[in-house]
Each structure stands twice: as C-alpha cells, then as structure tokens.
C-alpha cells in the first residue's frame, strides 16, 4: 500500500515497511501490505506474523516504504494513454485468414 502520503511521515516514528510475499516457488513476490518495525529484522518477523498465518507464502521481502518512488497519478493519462491508442501493438490488430491455421 505504498504511497507518497505515508512516506512523508515524521522521522521519529516507527518506520514503515512494504511487504512482498512469494506465494510459492515459480511465482513472483507480490505486494501484500505493510508493517511498522524498528529495523529490517523486526520487519521480516512482523511480516511473517501478520501476513503468513495460513501458508500464504514461502519467502518474504520487506522494503522501506520511503525507498519507493511512485509515478504521479496526475500524469496517469500522459504515462499510460499510449497503451490504449496503439492497437497495432496487439496480435488481434492483424487479419490472418483462418485457412492459415493457428498463429
């Protein structure tokens, strides 16, 4: 749940860590939430207690929330619009006769 608001929290508070969990080998670590902890050792311990009580994963990453740089939501259109207007980037843009078979 990374976001800029939380990265601006005062320094004297218990630091915030983003938690990523690999559900099983073969899958990527995914963001699951966050924990407060004094350091990375405590953060991994807290993440284990909070986010893996029912076999949710086999590996945990913790990253200081303040280390995450996020794209600006106000620039969402400029950043991500091209993926909508460039239909020719997708296979369905091209007409191939059925006779050719699966391609």
């Amino acid at each position: 749940m990374s976001d800029d608001t939380r990265n601006q929290m005062p320094r004297n508070l218990m630091p915030l860590w983003e938690v990523f969990i690999r559900p099983r080998t073969g899958l990527a670590h995914s963001h699951v939430g966050s924990v407060h902890a004094s350091d990375e050792v405590m953060a991994v311990q807290a993440a284990r207690d909070v986010y893996t009580r029912r076999g949710e994963g086999v590996s945990i990453w913790v990253v200081p929330s303040a280390s995450i740089t996020a794209s600006d939501p106000d620039q969402r259109d400029e950043n991500f619009e091209p993926s909508a207007s460039k239909a020719y980037r997708h296979p369905s843009f091209y007409d191939i006769p059925d006779d050719v078979g699966h391609m």
Partner: protein, 325 residues
Amino acid sequence: MYSQGLIGADGRTVEDEEFLTRFQARIDDEQKIEPNDEMPEGYRRTLVRQIGQHAHSEIVGMLPEGNWVTRAPSLRRKASLLAKVQDEGGHGLYLYSAAETLGVSREQMTEELIDGTAKYSSIFNYPTLSWADIGTIGWLVDGAAIMNQIPLCRCSYGPYARAMIRICKEESFHQRQGYEIVMTLAQGSPAQKAMAQESLNRFWQPVLMMFGPPDGESRNTDQSVKWKIKRFTNDELRQKFVDATVPQAEYLGLTIPDPDLKWNEQRQGYDFGPIDWDEFWRVVKGNGPMNRERVAARRKAWDEGAWVREAALAHAAKRQAQAAE
C-alpha cells in the same frame, strides 16, 4: 467498527461542483479510488473515521476473548482461541495500514484510542462472563461482522476493500469455531445448555445494535451509500443477519430472547421486537459495562510497551551507526 463507524462521521465537503461531479462519475463507474487519487475531503475524513474505528474494534475485540484464553476447557479450544485472537490483532493491523494511506499516522490513531476520543464497536463494551460467551461471540458477533464486512469488500476505496477481502477470508473460521462451542454446550448437560442459552440472552440485543442506529436516525448513511463506502443500510443488514441466524439457533435448540420474533410470510423474513436504543447510546457515549476497563487495558499495554519500542529503535540506530563506520 462496521456500520457504527459512521456515527458522528462528517461527510461535509468543500470542493466545487465540477470536482465532485467528476469524482462521483468515477464512483458510479465502479472505479476504485487509490491513495494518491484526488478525493473530496469529506470522503477522506469519513473513511479515516470508519477504517480507524474498524481497526480499533479489532484490537479492543481481543480483550473480551483474551479473558478466557487461560481458562479454555481443553487444549484444542485454547489453541483455536489463541489463533482467533491473533487473527483479530492481524485484522487491526491490515486496517490501520489502510487508514494510514489516507495520511493519518498509526501513533495518532493509537493515541485517540487510549485517550478515549476514538470509538470502537459497542459490542466490546460487554463482559465475557462465561465460557459460553466465547462461543456466542464467534457465532453471533463474528457472524454480524461478516454480514457487515462482505459488502465492504466492494467498498470504493481500494486499500479498505483489499483489507476487507483478507479479513473476510479469515473471519469464517471465527464464526465456525464459535458455533461449534455453542453446539457442544447445547448438546451437553442441562447445565451446559442453560449456560449457552444465558449467554445468547445477554448478547442478542447488543449484537443487533452492532449494525448501528435505525436508518431513520442514521443521517450519514445517504452520503456514504452515494460514495459507495457503504452498500447496504443498517436496517437491511440487521434484517439479513436475523434471517440467517434464527434457523441456526433453532438447530441448536436455543431460543432467541425476543417474544415478538416471528416469520413474516409476506415479507419472507423475520419480524423482530424493538431494540433498546437508549442502552446503545449509553454504551456508545462511554457508559457501557466495560468501556473504562477496555480503554484502560489498551492504555496500560501501550504505556508498558513503550520501553520495548524505544529500545528497538535505539538498537536499530546503533546498528545503523556501526554499519556506517
């Protein structure tokens, strides 16, 4: 927690019409609102209040159950109860995280809880006097919570909705372990069955109050429904809960303590008697049987844990300094 989270919520907002119309269009389009997105101040404030109260409810909810951990009647019951209490702590943390995405700090929320300004669900201001209460809480309190929380999984605010999805998955275990406890008592000796009935008698009305005041008196509902923070009204959820619960009580051979309770064929639902709203407001305003003890217990835990937090931070600072050398 739940529908009570909106009591006293201030949905007033100062943005211009154009901004509000644009925001409402996103909501109507079922788009989720994420932390960095622009949102009306009233929407943010309502969510901070509701999610904060929901988080506090999970944390304070550990206290009535913790009361019975050392006296659980078997190792199996003790292990289940410990796991359930641990889940409640976890749920509180998911929810505090969701509230923090709205710019409020964990410390601030904790301070509001222990200085008595923040609210939490009225249900946790009732004592757990017998072992049967642990069963009743799982069956009815968690049952009512599930009824409230399932629609919250579709709440318009992304982090809250995601936290609710996790919580709902775990909550089902809570209700089943509670029902199993009540079932064991109901099928036991006459004294055990009487203990289950007595517990149901005490908790029934307070559980119905968990859904919050009647729709006529709940002036914050309209705006919250429009913003899709809330999907059903308090009375709709209360009715769903009663309709689901009465057959469960019948199966146990227990009697719902309400002489006016009867099936309404026309409505296809149960009619039920009046709720003591004076008692509800007394408890919400801090004068329930356990309000002072609950807040005092949280304050004690926070104060007595201060040295641990300080030591952990000092240790982290020392390690950082050593690494820099």
